[in-house]
């Protein structure tokens, strides 16, 4: 079994022996693959999206129909058949899903984190944590079906004006599926708060409630905020639940108007799925618009991930 050959010269230099070099090269290539992945995502999205816009298409050698960058970024109508590609119609729906799921997930997630980190006994935690993981493990298409078949009818009994496809039910299920993310990252931050701070609080006569809300939460604030941003970036990229439950009609809605959530709309990710389900793989403007939305989505989520990382690092209290 073992490869050590005691008859060999023990003093020889083994660091650059062939097996060492080969295996190290293999491991390095595996790690470098992640860079290759990122670079190919960026290159692919940028080059394909460049073929979509009027301003950059000539550089790519494309002379078909194109769309103007200004119209893309400021237009509020998404009508592929009429050649109108206003991404704001999609962004508004995505924003509404994000706001709606934040309303559900952020308070619940933080409350869960406080309970797990400060209150729960060990054996309760051993049951609750895997159960919460299951929330994130259910396939998103299943959540979409739940929203469409069970949650929407329930909402309709309360708010009769709600459409079959609506943003409320989609937001609720997206919120439920990102609770574990908020909870686990926030809980890590709260557990990292040193016990001396809590003991000091108790020494001053504070109750457990005071200590939790007045000491632990403020001390873990950077971690909690970074969990919010990460979870919301996940909500923005969430696809199947919104595709099934939010509808297929692209329209520009005002995210600040609560009544608008009763209507259906087309978030960015759902628009991509819809484009693909129609037969557009032959190329053309619709096919390239796919990569333009993809680039928008990638940039938004990347920026949010970077901000979350920055918040976690920059504002972390060092003890």
């Amino acid at each position: 079994m073992s490869t050590d050959d005691i008859t060999d010269d023990l003093t020889r230099n083994t660091e650059n022996a062939p097996p060492e070099l080969l295996t190290r090269a293999f491991f390095f290539l595996c790690a470098a693959l992640s860079i290759v992945t990122t670079v190919s995502i960026v290159l692919l999205l940028v080059t394909e999206a460049a073929k979509f816009f009027t301003i950059t298409a000539p550089l790519m050698g494309i002379d078909g129909p194109t769309a103007s960058v200004i119209d893309f970024l400021t237009g509020t109508k998404w009508e592929i058949n009429n050649g109108r590609f206003g991404v704001l119609a999609l962004v508004s729906a995505t924003l509404m899903i994000t706001i709606g799921s934040a309303v559900v997930a952020l308070p619940l997630g933080v409350a869960t984190a406080i309970y797990l980190s400060e209150y729960a006994e060990k054996r309760h935690r051993a049951v609750l944590k895997p159960a919460l993981e299951v929330l994130a493990g259910i396939p998103t298409v299943v959540y979409g079906f739940f929203a469409l078949i069970y949650i929407t009818p329930a909402i309709k009994t309360v708010l009769p004006g709600t459409g079959t496809f609506n943003l409320i039910s989609a937001s609720i299920v997206v919120g439920i599926m990102i609770i574990p993310m908020v909870a686990s990252i926030s809980e890590d931050a709260m557990s990292a708060v040193p016990d001396e701070l809590r003991q000091a609080g108790y020494g001053m006569g504070a109750t457990k409630f005071d200590v939790s809300t007045g000491i632990v939460v403020p001390a873990a604030l950077s971690g909690i905020l970074s969990s919010f941003i990460l979870a919301l970036s996940r909500a923005i990229g969430e696809t199947m639940a919104v595709t099934v439950a939010a509808g297929s009609q692209a329209r520009f809605l005002n995210p600040l108007n609560p009544a608008a959530y009763q209507e259906g709309a087309l978030p960015m990710t759902a628009a991509m799925v819809q484009l693909l389900l129609g037969d557009i793989t032959g190329g053309g403007l619709a096919y390239r618009s796919l990569f333009a939305i993809g680039l928008t989505l990638f940039v938004i989520t990347l920026v949010m991930n970077v901000i979350s990382d920055f918040v976690a690092r920059r504002y972390r209290e060092e003890y």
Binding site: L44, P139, V141, F146, P180, F209, T243, V273
Partner: protein
């Protein structure tokens, strides 16, 4: 002083604060269970729609309640109170039975409809023969330098799998001179019947594992007996199977993958740990109760529930009517995708984790890789789908929606998760073990191979299973690479079009939207999909709990 830090003393300062604290505590608990409770209710609804337990005869419920639920609960409660190790043993044997049954049905499906048993046999043989030769060469002469040894090993495997000049020659347009061992076996004019081929490939592997297990428990002789018993059981079940209505391939697979491993686990534990023997009673009462209940129900003519998750649903393809629609091609597609994803992502993910934890110098470049991986974990799955579409379809000109394309895309998607969890597992290997290995004169690669990877393996496996669960639940990347939502035949090659369970469910829920599909096919599909995922998650959690303290045993 001491009392100053006791919260109960402080809380008695004011009654008002105590109320606030209690209310707060219960609010937190409510918030924690809110999501779980909602999901539980939704799952209950969908289970009710799919299985319709209330359509069964009350007599059916009563029979199974009396034969299965009551005895199992009674024995289980007794063991749990009095003999907890025995209860744990019984429960894990039951869990192993369920999981291995799922495993063997998947494998039987693959052998019946995707890969012929003769090819599996041929490739097992084509891998085993050069492996044996390589070991023999090393035994005979231990001092061959590295490069010749590598050339011999690679050459033997190449010759056996591809022949001469093999696929390199085909690419250059050379004619095949020496056929490969694999093609020789496949091309044999006569070969044994299917169950013998299953026995010759899967069966011998399982027999070797079982034999080794018993050799470790007792001695060499017991090991040999166990291996012989394995072969005998598989042969017997395969011969008897067709007589009771199970065709030979499923019978052989069932014996190899379910009966033998569960039997070996039960017998081995019962031999070694007498205090756990009572756990067998739990297993026996559960299985016996189910069988007796089945017989009684048939005897009295009680009708079971009109479940949409039935044999017909699991074994037929999509149809325009919800009653006839089935999930079979999608299940096969999911299995093939899962195998492809595991093969592609496991070595690369573990390799990257080993590099980052063991080899990487602390440079800017390493930190860049680090940040990059955590950012990749946050990239939406649709974007990975676009990547797959762009690379394979736009630039490489491949047809859309193939097994390879889907597998590669999903593998890239879960790679960051595999890497992150594998790094955690590797990091949890104590540093003393590493230093001890280096102290014995081992090189880095020897330390990684003989010390770090074996110790970190359970953790790596847990993370990979969870990541694979994520991969088979993904729909969006498959839609983006153009996987067809309706497929009528199982994919048989890496280049055939593939559907998957979540994709089929999506198709029923959107393209065939209507009350009929909403109430029958979709809930049934959801139950199968969620059941598979929950089974995978539980395997991962059990593995994690069982091996959580595994590293510490080294210090004993």
């Amino acid at each position: 002083m001491a009392t100053g830090t006791r919260p109960d003393v402080i809380e008695s300062f004011g009654q008002v604060n105590k109320t606030v604290g209690t209310v707060f505590r219960y609010l937190l608990l409510a918030a924690t269970t809110f999501g779980i409770a909602i999901l539980a209710v939704l799952l209950l609804f969908v289970f009710d729609d799919a299985v319709q337990p209330l359509t069964a005869d009350p007599g059916w419920h009563l029979t199974f309640f009396l034969t299965l639920v009551v005895p199992t609960a009674a024995v289980g409660a007794y063991l749990y109170r009095r003999r907890e190790p025995a209860f744990r043993f019984g429960a894990s044997a039951l869990g192993l039975l369920v999981v291995s049954l799922m495993f063997s049905s998947g494998m039987a499906m693959v052998l019946v409809d995707i890969v012929a048993p003769i090819s599996v046999f041929a490739y097992t043989l084509a891998l085993a023969v050069p492996a044996a030769l390589v070991v023999a060469v090393e035994r005979y002469e231990r001092r061959i330098p590295f490069w010749p040894r590598l050339v011999i090993a690679v050459g033997l495997f190449y010759l056996s799998l591809f022949g001469l000049p093999g696929f390199v020659g085909t690419a250059l347009g050379l004619p095949q001179v020496v056929p490969s061992l694999a093609s020789l076996v496949v091309g044999l004019p006569v070969y044994p019947v299917d169950w013998m081929l299953v026995l010759g490939s899967l069966g011998l592997v399982v027999a070797a594992v079982v034999g080794n297990h018993f050799r470790r428990l007792r001695d060499r002789r017991t090991g040999l007996y166990a291996a012989g018993a394995t072969v005998a059981v598989v042969a017997a079940v395969s011969v008897v199977g067709p007589a009771v209505g199970v065709t030979q391939i499923p019978a052989a697979v069932l014996a190899t993958v379910t009966l033998v491993p569960v039997g070996a686990y039960v017998v081995g534990t019962a031999l070694e740990r007498p205090e756990k023997r009572l756990g067998i009673a739990f297993l026996a009462v559960t299985i016996g109760g189910a069988l007796v209940g089945e017989v009684l129900v048939g005897q009295f003519g009680f009708a079971g529930p009109q479940s949409w998750v039935d044999w017909q649903f699991l074994t037929s393809a999509h149809s325009r009517t919800a009653e006839d629609a089935g999930l079979y091609p999608a299940i096969g597609g999911s299995i093939l995708l899962m195998v492809t994803v595991a093969v592609l992502s496991f070595p690369v993910g573990v390799g990257a984790a080993v590099y980052l934890e063991e080899y990487a110098p602390d440079t800017r470049f390493t930190r860049f890789i680090d940040v990059n991986i955590s950012n990749l974990a946050g990239v939406p799955s649709v974007v990975y789908g676009l990547l797959g579409l762009g690379i394979f379809f736009t630039y490489l000109g491949q047809p859309t929606g193939t097994v390879l394309m889907g597998g590669a895309t999903l593998a890239l998607l879960i790679l960051p998760i595999v890497i992150i969890s594998a790094r955690e597992a590797i990091r949890s290997v104590p540093n003393e073990v590493r230093q001890a290995s280096y102290g014995l004169g081992a090189t880095k690669w020897q330390t990684v191979r003989n010390v770090i990877l074996p110790q970190a393996f359970p953790g790596i496996l847990t993370g990979t299973i969870l990541a694979l669960g994520r991969a088979i639940g993904e729909t969006a990347p498959l839609i983006m690479i153009g996987a067809p939502s309706v497929v009528f035949a199982l994919p048989t090659e890496l280049s055939s079009a593939v559907s998957a369970m979540p994709l089929q469910v999506f198709a029923w829920a959107s393209l065939f939207a209507g009350p009929d599909f909403y109430q029958k096919a979709v809930p049934a599909g959801v139950v199968v999909l969620v059941g598979t995922l929950l089974a995978m998650n539980s395997i991962a959690i059990v593995l994690r709990n069982r091996y959580e303290g595994g590293v510490a045993t080294v210090n004993e």
